[in-house]
């Protein structure tokens, strides 16, 4: 699914402008690094795509869906097609690795046999099969992040959003995670990754969109973390 953000402004009460007049189009299957300092509006932009936040002005459309006009039921169905990976993983601590990944399939009504098959497949693919009976607190940071990714891709979403997926990880683990995201993207999933990790962005040259103070200040096809020109 392609993502179209047109003239979006978001103001939070009392008077904090998180995004201002943002235009961004992400075609289907694209891979975008969203960079910029803390507070530049990256997370707000991602949360608009999941419709946790709605714009004060402008439109966000994903595929055929205009997010502003979605009903509650349509929103549920829309979100099944958008995977999210959080910086703090948001894994459910009382569930095992297997249950965490199975859970997101169960809650949308996938039959138990299919849930087992898909979960096993995803865990195998992400190298977590041997860890399937462990609880999140028994895993390393990298493993927890992989579980979060496994959970996000378990329903085969068309769009995957990752907010600082390498935030707490060492360089090697971060590189593994990004390779994993690239392999998911290679299968046609549209990907937006918000990151502060310069090494990663520079190593895997992809489209880079830079935000500053709620505005897009750079959009480069095979960009670097830092701009070549002084912004």
């Amino acid at each position: 699914m392609d993502i179209r953000i047109s003239g979006v402004t978001k103001t939070f009460k009392p008077d904090i402008t998180a995004l201002q007049d943002v235009y961004l189009t992400v075609p289907r299957g694209d891979f975008v690094y969203l960079v910029g300092p803390t507070g530049s509006g990256k997370t707000t932009l991602m949360r608009m795509i999941t419709r946790e936040v709605i714009p004060s002005k402008g439109q966000v459309a994903v595929g055929e869906s205009n997010l502003r006009t979605l009903s509650n039921l349509d929103l549920a169905f829309y979100r099944r097609d958008v995977g999210v990976v959080f910086q703090d993983f948001k894994l459910l601590s009382h569930l095992t690795v297997f249950e965490n990944v199975a859970f997101v399939q169960e809650v949308i009504g996938i039959p138990p046999g299919e849930v087992k098959r898909r979960t096993a497949e995803v865990l195998e693919k992400l190298g977590l099969w041997r860890r399937r009976f462990l609880f999140p607190e028994q895993l390393s940071g990298g493993e927890q992040q992989r579980v979060a990714i496994a959970r996000a891709v378990a329903n085969s979403p068309s769009v995957l959003l990752a907010d600082e997926p390498t935030g707490n990880l060492d360089v090697h683990t971060a590189e593994d995670i990004i390779r994993l995201l690239h392999s998911i993207n290679a299968s046609g999933t549209t990907m937006i990754v918000a990151t502060h990790n310069q090494y990663i962005v520079d190593a895997f040259r992809q489209r880079v969109v830079e935000l500053r103070r709620g505005r897009i200040v750079r959009d480069e096809k095979k960009g670097r973390y830092e701009s070549d020109v002084d912004l």
Binding site: E52, R80, D81, V84, L92, H94, V107, I108, G109, P112
Partner: protein, 295 residues
Amino acid sequence: MSTFRYIIRDTFRLLSRHWGLSFLTLVTAVAVFYLVGASALFVLNSKYLVATVEGSLTIQAYVEDTPEAMEAVTSRAAAFDCVSSVEPITSGQALERLRARLGNQADAVTLLGQNPLPPSVEIQVRKAAFASVVAREMISMPEVEDVVYAGELAERLESISAFVSRLSLVVLLISVTSAALVLFNTIRISVYARKEEIDTMLLVGTTQFFVSFPFVLQGVILGAVGALLSSLLLGFSYGFAVDALHRSLPFLRLISDPKLVMRLSGVLVLGGVSVGWVCSWLAVSKFVRSASRPH
């Protein structure tokens, strides 16, 4: 089908994960529904007692010893809607009754010589409250010489009956409100304990129905099981109370129809289900609505 299975599984997960809270709610629900049932039985029995006494409440109107007077009073009494039966008693019949009442000492009436008992009309009213009205009407008739009835008893019974009904209604309201509040808070605590889980569920595309329904079922199960257990307790304790009262105060009859307790249990379980449903729905729907609302 899978959705339904997951909902049932989640419901039992909810009950077992917060088992301490569930148990406490169950105990409270049992106590509260027991109180509801007991007050209902109290009302029914007091009404039954009042009705029994009212059924035997008789107005005795003594009339002049002429067939015309007897006829006039009988027809006047029968004209009241609230009168259930009218029976003219001649002097001879009154004497026969007295003999029957005296049993083996019946011969004592021969000592009276001429029959001193006056003719009368026995009037039974449907409700105690009507007794004084009918009695006043009777005494105003020139053919009636005197009227005897348990006027004070009738009025007292009526006021006790009204008071018991009002008191029981208040007890019933307080009990049901307490049950509702306890269930509401239990479900709310369960919902808040699973806040993170609910947020994640909503974010991966779970419908509000799927999120809410296990909580609603949790409330329904707690309400229904609480009401069912209280019904069993009530059945046993009521049976015991009826037996004990019958042994110590045989003249005081309580309702001993087993169908009554069965019917009351049905009403209690239905009440438990309804209260559980409404309270848990209120608790969870508000939370889920606010969690789904975009910022």
